[in-house]
């Protein structure tokens, strides 16, 4: 193999000592690398070209596999847990109040309240046992829990149609003062409910 002619620096030396050393240096044997080393280097260079680097291909496949495994693990875990149960409120009933309670359940509940009124809210006793023990029945009467229908009626107000009927009856009876009071209460409870023309007069 031939070395490039530019190997020998041909710039003029301004340092006479360096020039003298360079002159002597150029008289040294120009040792070359052995042919075996040349071939080894060239083969290495060729091998690197024949084997193009693909540094991130495996990484992409690995990341995809990890994502798939994680997704499968999440799905399997959710299947094992089953559907998410409804969140109970403090009374143990579902918070979804729009769903009608089956009549049989209501009756059972009312029966249970009548049979064991003091056991209906045991957690209250645990929370405030002193208050529960100090509570005395008024005039010897046992505290009765009201039926669920009455509780719901209180919360939403009386049935508007029945209320209107009652107000019409008051009007027919000439009890106008009571009618006005009822009408005012009705409008507070049912502000948008249409009233019959008899009551609008």
């Amino acid at each position: 193999m031939n070395s490039d002619p530019r190997d020998k620096p041909n710039k003029p030396e301004f340092d006479p000592d360096l020039a003298a050393v360079r002159s002597a240096w150029e008289g040294l044997e120009q040792t070359e690398p052995p042919d075996l080393i040349d071939q080894a280097v060239l083969n290495t260079a060729r091998r690197h070209l024949e084997r193009p680097r693909r540094p991130l291909r495996w990484l992409g496949a690995f990341a995809s596999a990890i994502v798939v495994v994680l997704a499968l693990a999440i799905v399997v875990r959710q299947d094992q847990q089953g559907p998410v149960p409804p969140v109970p409120d403090s009374d143990g009933f579902r918070m979804d109040r729009d769903t009608p309670v089956p009549a049989k359940t209501k009756q059972e509940y009312e029966q249970m309240m009548q049979d064991e009124p003091r056991k209906a809210r045991p957690e209250l006793r645990q929370i405030a046992p002193a208050a529960a023990s100090e509570a005395q029945p008024v005039q010897g009467k046992e505290t009765q829990l009201r039926p669920l229908d009455a509780v719901e009626e209180d919360a939403a107000g009386p049935d508007p149609e029945a209320w209107i009927e009652r107000m019409l009856a008051l009007r027919a009876a000439g009890r106008l003062e009571e009618l006005e009071a009822e009408l005012a209460d009705f409008r507070r409870s049912w502000p948008d409910y249409p009233l019959p023309p008899e009551l609008l007069d």
Binding site: M1, N2, S3, D4, R6, D7, K8, P9, K11, D15, D17, L18, A20, V21, R22, A24, W25, G27, L28, E29, Q30, T31, E32, P33, P34, I37, D38, A40, V41, L42, T44, A45, R46, H48, L49, R53
Partner: protein
């Protein structure tokens, strides 16, 4: 036909042109080998270091940018490779007086020219490592002091000082060589 620059050849090789590497290698193999050989002290170590340096150059081809001079980049890789080698194996392979004597002329090398050459080579080997490297980068690779400072990772003044000391010591050897030739 206009000669392609080192930078263009290296970029062509990085792009898959093996002929470009052949040209680049032929251009730099001699000086780079001698730069390493004068520091290694023996052929076997020099061959290993030389081959290892080229392997690093080949592996680093993708990171090479044509904005940097190829020759300085190549010698910086070789410099780091040689320094790493001597750091790992300094106690056993550092240049000892025995190693230097191996470069001394033997009785069978009777010719005066060969003796002078061997004396000069021995004087180079006897230089401290840092001075020897600066001298080799100057004489073999033809770098200026600024580039030598960059390659060896020292200041310009340090490189200049090292070269001055090295030349001063070699001048004595050259002077005695010339004296011997005259007598």
């Amino acid at each position: 036909m206009r000669e392609r620059s080192d930078e263009a050849l290296m970029q062509a090789y990085a792009g898959g042109d093996m002929a470009a590497f052949d040209c680049l290698y032929a251009r730099h193999r001699g000086p780079l080998y001698r730069y390493i050989l004068r520091q290694a002290g023996d052929d076997a170590t020099a061959n290993d270091l030389y081959q290892g340096s080229w392997e690093k150059i080949i592996r680093a081809r993708a990171s090479y940018t044509a904005s940097a001079p190829f020759k300085a980049w190549m010698y910086r890789i070789a410099h780091n490779h040689v320094v790493d080698h001597f750091r790992r194996s300094r106690p056993s392979s550092d240049l000892s007086p025995e190693t230097m004597r191996a470069d001394d002329p033997g009785p069978e090398q009777a010719l005066i020219g060969e003796q002078a050459a061997c004396r000069l080579a021995a004087a180079v080997s006897a230089l401290p490592t840092e001075q020897r490297e600066v001298l080799l980068l100057k004489l073999e690779a033809g770098f200026d002091l600024r580039t030598i400072a960059e390659i060896t990772g020292v200041s310009h003044e340090t490189a200049k000082s090292r070269l001055r000391y090295a030349v001063g010591k070699l001048k004595i050897a050259v002077g005695s060589e010339q004296d011997g030739a005259e007598s």
